[in-house]
Amino acid sequence: MTNYLEVRDLSKRFGDFTALGNVSLDVTEGEFVCFLGPSGCGKTTLLRAIAGLDPQTSGTIRQKGRDVSALPPAQRDFGIVFQSYALFPNLTVADNVGYGLVSRRQARGAIAKRVEELLAMVGLPDSGPKYPAQLSGGQQQRVALARALATSPGLLLLDEPLSALDARVRLRLRHEIKALQRRLGVTTIMVTHDQEEALTMADRIVVMNHGAIEQVGSPQEIYRRPATAFVADFVGSMNFLAGTLETSERVKIGGLVFACPMQDGLVVGTKVRLSIRPEDVRVRDLPADVANRVPVEVAELDFVGAFCRASLKVRTDGDVALVADFSSNLIRDLGVDIGSRLDVALPPDRVRVYAA
């Protein structure tokens, strides 16, 4: 399959500050891609460069095989939705949605019909005559979406479209946007700093940090096999234990030695960090010969709703600590409480090792 969008060696500098450094990225047609990263990492900068709103300093962008690198936004093919909607306050909802259609010299009846269709599509069939100020935030964002989709752009760009909304509305709109995108098959790029949003909505996630791409992958890949310590840390919770790579399949941490997947990228004898997600720490039914068994004592137990987050101290080595998620069932069945002593295991296939 050919790529719909090809970004090559894109850089953006503001004076001496490099907001984007040599970013390359491919997006296939019909894909939903999320740019995820901490504040200030360059997500918006990359999105606006793709739109041509704030052109890159160097590098090329090809859209559908056409080099658009130097084209002004009006000559590119995209629709855009901003965090703050940017609806025209003095125009009715219908006029907002039809804004891009009017200049295309379509018959008035055809425009009205298309507007109606679009409003029905975003679930606001009767809001046409209202003004934006009379709608809720969530409704306004849907109008913005309808306006961006009105001209059937090949590429839909969303810059934190949900972050101004409250939690409930956000959840509902997540599903609606995703379903709409699937139905229309429009290639979509969404910027977000909310990892949950990215994990639930995206076909592929682009994790960014300091103006560079850290990893590109499906939500499962990003979560299960974070390519860098930054990704591991930024997406979900993660334990990091500092140690030394003893052999290519063993990490020594304090007095303990852990088995890990084969490491060919790291030099034996160097300092490394061993990582494991709290929910991957095993407690129940440990076989006698289970790998990476660690005797621990429960130091703290924080109730988080569906489960408890336990802070564990390694009994044989007081300096090593890790957190694990215990289900309520487990806590009841094993009678876990602060001060409880138990054995846990860090399954080697769930363990990942990064250079320190």
Binding site: S11, P55, P72, A74, G79
Partner: protein
Amino acid sequence: MSLAAPTPKTVLRISLSRDDLLMRVGLVALVGVLLLIVALPLWALLAKGFEDRDGRYVGLANYISYFSTPALFNSALNSFHVAAVCTVIVVPMSFLYAYALTRTVLPGKWLFQGISLIPIFAPSLLPGLALVYLFGNQGFFKGLIGGSIYGFDGIVIAQVFYCFPHATMIMVTALATADARLYEAADALGASKIRVFFTVTLPGAKYGLISAALVVFTLVITDFGIAKVIGGNFNVLATDVYKQVIGQQNFSMGAVVGMVLLAPAALAFLVDRLVQRKQVALLTARAVPLIPKPKFGRDLFFTAFCTLVSAGILAILGMAAWGSLIKYWPYNLSLTLANYEFANFDANGWESYFNSLRMAAGTAIIGTALMFVGAWLNEKTRGFGVIRGIVQLLAFLPMAVPGIVLGLGYIFFFNAPNNPLNFLYATIGILVINTVAHFYTVGHLTATTALKQIHPEFESVSASLKVPIWKTFGRVTAPICLPAILDIAIYLFVNAMTTVSSVIFLYAPDTKLASVAAVNIEEAGTTAAAAALCLVIVITSAAVKALHLLADRFLLGRLQAWRRR
């Protein structure tokens, strides 16, 4: 994987869209217009100061003779003296008045606020005329003052009247933005009222005070009408320019005096810009607005104070009004409308009033269009930083230039025989152009502020929808900014009606304006008719302002249903 050498990076050159091109052409045209109506006339003035009467270059000779002629140089000292004294009087007065309006419980607050604005609608010679009636050679209260009202004292009193609303508006803005939490904190810490005043209130209004002081200083030093009417033998810079040019036809010396007058005005303006830049937003989004609670003693004091000041303003206006209706001051006090038969006092009769209306309407329409579109181009053009910087500079320049100086520059620039634009000279067109230029800064700032308040991505959205930017200007940007557009138009109309200084050199017999006619009539010695003409101007500009307020309240509300939730 190939090991090709990394491709050399060339810095990207973005091609321009039609919108970009259009807007850049517009900006360049705007720079051209501003150069023509602001910069080049000033340049002509500067050059004139280095020429003798016959146009030969004489270097600094004119300046040397200026500074070595005590009679001339003395005016500069007089100007500074008057300006300093007026500043010292007006700033505390306007501070107290604004404090009363914003921080105390004042009965009839809107009335006090309205009265404080009245002087804005009058040409500056009006308070001068009123003082002539009250304390002049045949004044009612002549006996009350020791000497003559003509001179220093008269100028100061009239200037206080004239500058008061400008300073008060600035102080109201500065004091209105108070954070109640600061006062609660001070209270909780047990600070005394005096201490709260000096540690919270005054620092909060610091920038307002500085700004008000500089504005008053500049207004006084550059005003022409008051010193003309009530200055007597007390010469100031602005009247000297007039005397050199109109009286002695010594244009070169007029230009030199103009440059001397420009210096303090420009300096005050620069200081104000520097100070305002330091100002950080004191009011955060979470600030709690201060709502004054009743307090008997304080409220009584401020009500008395405001009543006194308002009475003074009304007395001056009322005196001018009464004087204009009296048969023969002070011998025959019966009422008449004869003084409004302007044809008996000035060849143009009422025509000068209609000229004023035409000129003010033209200024309002052309000026508003130019200022708003100009500010829009400057805000929304992508890239093109250098030209945008130049526009910003040229738009700010008029604020620093006294009207009489700009008017003088216009003579030199537009009257030059080799200027293809000299057909404009002696038309109503040049009066409009001059007035637009004179008041350009405030209109530009108002438009810029309004444009900065609307969503910055409207243009991005319309570009993505392939809608030309000018269409978005017409359908969205301008309609949203309609209140600001109206503000600019009214501001220009009122100022065009009342201005004297910048147009005094530029009228032809058939384009004379009402404010200028009033000066001429007064010069000829008919105070009553001059007062009558001033009053017609006051009534017209106040009526237009009242219409504006009504429209704002009722018409805009209907037109802009979208503002309602």
